[in-house]
Symmetry: C2
Subunit: 691 residues, 2 copies
């Protein structure tokens, strides 16, 4: 929703329902903070118990006020909240911040009340944040409207957190960092105003350039994605709960590999959101966006240092992150030799040795800044004697003022006290405690996202309609193998030759038409895992072996007591390959249809080398999905095997995606997807479709 939230976050008047005189209660602290933070608007304590509260006149009800407050904050027991909102709304109040807890976080009953609040808000065009929050701060108007002691300095970031405690915790941590907040918002259970609504609102704010998110769930993924795609802000997100296994039943292969978190990862990538794994990482990346306007795509990095050890560790980190150490030409080295001390090393890292002077730093920095082939500079100083880190910090800072578009990060290995002093005074350069932190933040801040989401192409096919119709008439949801293969055939996907037979004679006819060796497998309405009941025979070389195989399979089915659903036998061209992949579709409870491409064969479980995408996807995203596998090397020319036909592979995956969306299928497994050892062609052999 496109909400107008200016009067909400920049209110001229605030009423606090539940304001209190009792120290160490929520109502006391909330009023105390609003009253004593420098906020210039009107503040109205509301509590029928008092006529005066913390020195202010106290009112029994909002309706008793002479004006309609632009924002009402509510800190009273949960059960009274909805009624209070109704009364205030009748009086004309539009904006509510519910501090009170005791709602959805406690269970179904609380969720129910939240639902009622949300309905009331929609019907009456209200904006309600919460419940279960600690409030918010807005440094733009010097407003501290949270009941904890936290707050932090002004800046270009906004923080939105689903955890109340962490809203406070993160603000405490930011206060000791270079990152300032314009607003810090505890959004709580978000029964009305959503994270997506807030992102949309802040997208329009010019004084905000980054949005920090702490999320434990992503309730409206489509709106969230749209808000992120429409944003020109940098969005940095900690999404916790990585280890929790998802709600997807592991009945399909793809489902078994889809932990919720791998899909969350894919989703945030597709949103163009920088996902970080800890508050510390969030602060480090935010420090870059707090000090720099434009972030270049970083490839070539130079490390400038006065100490070898930390530089070596930085190089280790850069290399592990896939960043490149710029190689100086002989001319460039000669130039640096001309002014640096004789023991200095002019390779990269440039080790100017312990006694490096301010001038050494200045000249070397300027030299690297003016080299367009260098994307980022990590400037390390470790005090031994002589020049202090504070002096170096101020030099680097002033260089950056002169050259604002170069990525320069500074690392100081020193006492907390000096470090803190540096962080509070240096405005133009992000400061880090180690080269590893600097390297990681540079990498994370200059990620390239492929968010070119394509509109779905509708697929309609009357033969497929008929197959699905038959399945539904049988009260099944799983297609037989033959039906699944027929669907793939209708989609004109690269299937091996196959046909359905019911008796030995037609089996022989088909096998001879296809050419031996062939595979025989059952197609059945009742059996989903064919191999488990001895329903597959491979490498059949002639008619005699074929007849024998059919007999054996029948006997196997009889002994497993499952011959009833048998629909016939599929005779199929025999194909094997050294390169087996899998492709699949799952319907995630949260994100809807998602695709998975992965390494197949016996290696699936060992390496879990898979990549998910939330549908729909563009061809570019599919290419990225393919290439993000470690095993994607195998699609190239390896060990005399030819390159895979990548165009055909992308095409196949895109058709499956569009088909899955068009028919809203439940699960789909293509296992295996073979890359032909001689031609590199794609071959599909087996499919399993659930509708």
């Amino acid at each position: 929703m496109n909400r107008k939230l200016d009067t909400f976050f920049y209110p001229k008047s605030i009423a606090i329902i539940g304001a209190s005189n009792k120290v160490d209660t929520v109502g006391y602290r909330l009023l105390y903070n609003v009253k004593n933070c420098g906020y210039e608007g009107a503040v109205y304590p509301i509590n029928p118990k008092y006529t005066e509260c913390q020195g202010l006149q106290c009112f029994s009800r909002v309706q008793d006020l002479d004006e309609i407050p632009q924002l009402v904050m509510i800190a009273i027991p949960a059960k009274a909240v909805l009624q209070t909102i109704k009364e205030c709304a009748k009086f004309g109040v539009k904006n509510f911040y519910i501090i009170s807890s005791g709602f959805g976080e406690l269970g179904a009953e609380g969720k129910h009340v939240e639902h009622d609040i949300s309905l009331f808000a929609q019907e009456n065009d209200l904006n309600i944040i919460g419940p279960n929050t600690i409030g918010f701060i807005n440094n733009g108007i010097k407003l501290n409207a949270n009941f904890s002691q936290s707050g932090c300095k002004d800046g270009n970031a906004v923080l939105i957190s689903q955890s109340g405690a962490l809203t406070s915790g993160i603000m405490n941590i930011l206060e000791d960092s270079q990152v300032g907040l314009k607003l810090g918002i505890s959004i709580g259970n978000a029964c009305d105003v959503s994270v997506a609504d807030l992102i949309k609102y802040f997208n329009k704010k010019k004084d905000i350039s980054q949005i920090l998110l702490y999320l434990e769930s992503i309730p409206q993924p489509e709106e969230f994605m749209q808000a992120c795609k429409d944003s020109d802000k940098k969005i940095i997100c900690v999404k916790s709960g990585r280890s929790a296994r998802g709600a997807i039943a592991a009945s399909s292969h793809t489902g078994a590999l889809a932990s919720t978190d791998t899909i969350v990862d894919a989703f945030l990538q597709q949103c163009g959101v920088i996902r970080v794994n800890s508050i510390a990482e969030m602060v480090n990346v935010a420090a870059i966006f707090s000090t720099m306007e434009k972030i270049p795509m970083t490839k070539n990095v130079v490390v400038i240092t006065n100490a070898g050890g930390p530089a070596i560790m930085t190089v280790d980190a850069l290399s592990e992150l896939g960043l490149n150490l710029y190689e100086f030409s002989d001319e460039e080295k000669d130039y640096m030799r001309s002014y640096l001390q004789s023991q200095a090393s002019v390779k990269n890292p440039i080790d100017m040795v312990a006694s490096a002077s301010i001038d050494d730093y200045k000249k070397t920095l300027e030299f690297c800044i003016n080299n367009d082939k260098i994307d980022a500079i990590i400037c390390i100083h470790l005090y031994i004697m002589g020049t202090t880190s504070k002096e170096i910090a101020s030099i680097v800072d002033s260089m950056k003022e002169k050259y604002p578009n170069k990525m320069i990060a500074s690392v100081f290995i020193t006492h907390l006290e000096e470090m803190n002093e540096i962080k509070q005074t240096i405005k133009n350069i992000p400061i880090f405690e180690s080269g590893e932190d600097a390297s990681k933040a540079i990498k994370q801040s200059s990620q390239k996202f492929i968010c070119s989401r394509e509109k779905q192409r509708k697929i309609r096919n009357t033969n497929i309609d008929k197959i699905f119709e038959n399945v539904r008439q049988d009260n099944r949801n799983l297609l037989t193998t033959y039906e699944s293969l027929e669907v793939l055939k209708e989609l004109e996907l690269p299937l091996v030759k196959f046909d359905l037979v019911k008796d030995p004679q037609s089996a022989k006819n088909v096998a001879n038409k296809i050419n031996y060796p062939v595979v025989v497998k059952i197609t059945s309405k009742t059996i989903s895992h064919k191999s488990d009941v001895g329903g597959v025979k491979v490498g059949i070389k002639n008619d005699i072996e074929l007849i024998k195989a059919l007999d054996e399979i029948k006997n196997n089915l009889k002994s497993h007591n499952c011959i009833d659903g048998l629909d016939g036998f599929i005779i199929q061209e025999m194909k094997s390959s050294n390169r087996e992949f899998v492709y699949g579709i799952v319907n995630d409870a949260q994100f809807g249809l998602c695709s998975m491409f992965g390494l197949g064969g016996i290696f699936v479980e060992s390496f879990k080398d898979v990549c998910f995408k939330v549908l729909p996807t563009s061809n570019e995203e599919i290419l990225q999905q393919i290439h993000s596998l470690k095993a994607s090397k195998l699609l190239g020319s390896v060990r005399n095997l030819p390159c895979a036909d990548i165009d055909k592979l992308v095409d196949t995956m895109q058709i499956i995606n569009n088909f899955s969306l068009s028919y809203n299928i439940k699960e789909l497994d293509l296992n295996p997807v073979l890359i032909d050892d001689k031609t590199g062609n794609i071959s599909l052999i087996d499919a399993r479709i659930k509708i």
Copy 2:
């Protein structure tokens, strides 16, 4: 060497050669620190330029002193150092600390001088640390003998660092942590006293319980390993230079996969050293060893918290580290429900909600401490209102005093200032800034090492002797394929059937004896990569195909112009398998013979799923090597394939190890090592041995 270093590190008198009155020189700062740190021994400035130095009587030469100083520290230009040592030694000085730089770090000439110093030290039974150091501190005798401003509080750790700057940097960081140092030593280029010597010396010190190492190289690996194995101290090591590619020529398969760092990793593991990747990690692990006597093997962890967010992130970290969340029984939950607030969650994490009282923390901690099934407790507090983090810290601390053997780590998410105050006052509990840090440190501190190194079993075999003799007589260092296979046969390893033939008739005889299908491959004194010249034919089904294959191979060799070295053809049983591994031996320039076990086939390069060990190895270590592969799951029963014969695999690897050591071979590749699809038996097919 077992050095007596008591008078070195606990000297009663120190002479400083190069002491100076010029502020901001090394000689000034060194004397200044020694003089003003509270050290009670005698201090003698030595400098022919002065009669008085910083208020002390200054002497021209050490020989002018009335006593022989127990330690002489040298801070004069490099070129004068050796002569000065000689003169002091003649006077009777035994212990030297060379601060001066300008030696091996600058190149060959400096290395030469270091070598002369080292020889002189050996001949005259001296102890020399350095050159290229910043000095050392010994908090045990209040001695600060380094020329930087750093120092830190007393404690149970010793720091040994190859980087001078980082000796200072790490001490600065430790000062803000809970970790105290007994000694901090900058060892520099270590021309005489080695890291191994120092570890051996500190192994005997009762007041030291942990040794922190910052290393950029490991010069005498055997001595180092022995010193570590003999140690009952905890040894934590940052070994930087992880990304540098090793000196091993990539002529063998195993060599190509052996970056120096993978071997360093294996080596430190086998030493029982805890390898960490950053100074921050080192400090975190050291904080645990600074506050705890005994570290339990950690499996089951409980998280106690008053805020959900940080607990969820902790659970994410624990799960990624493979640690387990303890599951409370219904009875245990009922007990906690009996005193906690109604909104509290009594699962694990135990979320006692924002308003948790001191008493809630106390009771819950005590309850978890007394549960023997819980190995570690992570106790999180985030201040919102009411109880402060400082109060909680002191409660946890006192609980730990009562129950010293339980692993309890505490996490506070707060301002730096309060954090620092907590760290400086809490003595019994390691304090962390995040649950992720706590989890990682717990995991790293309770690692189980398999260091049960076995003595090598000598292998002597006269037939192998003869093969090697022939190779040497030919001036070759690479065995032919046939010779390599013959060696494996002599070692009674599980080889497929094979024989050498020189003509078509004997080829047919052998093939019929082995049974078709067979493989034909050349064995040649000049060709090492058989496939590249068309020297291998697989899947030969009968006599006709065999004759054709021999002809084709000969033609291939002719067209590649390399028929000359041909020794004949190997006819070999045809075997293939879904499970291919590789085993190999390399001779690392630094660590000597190392073995590699890895996943084979076309996946080698994509996954680099390999594990190295430095030889010799015990069977236990070999088992660990096998099981540390991700692909080790494939050795179990997967997809109807039988379990691999692990005993035979270990046996094979052990024989290869002992053979390689006994014959001091240069390189060995067993590629592939097949696991039979039907039996799980081990089969070797090809070998390449370089001597």
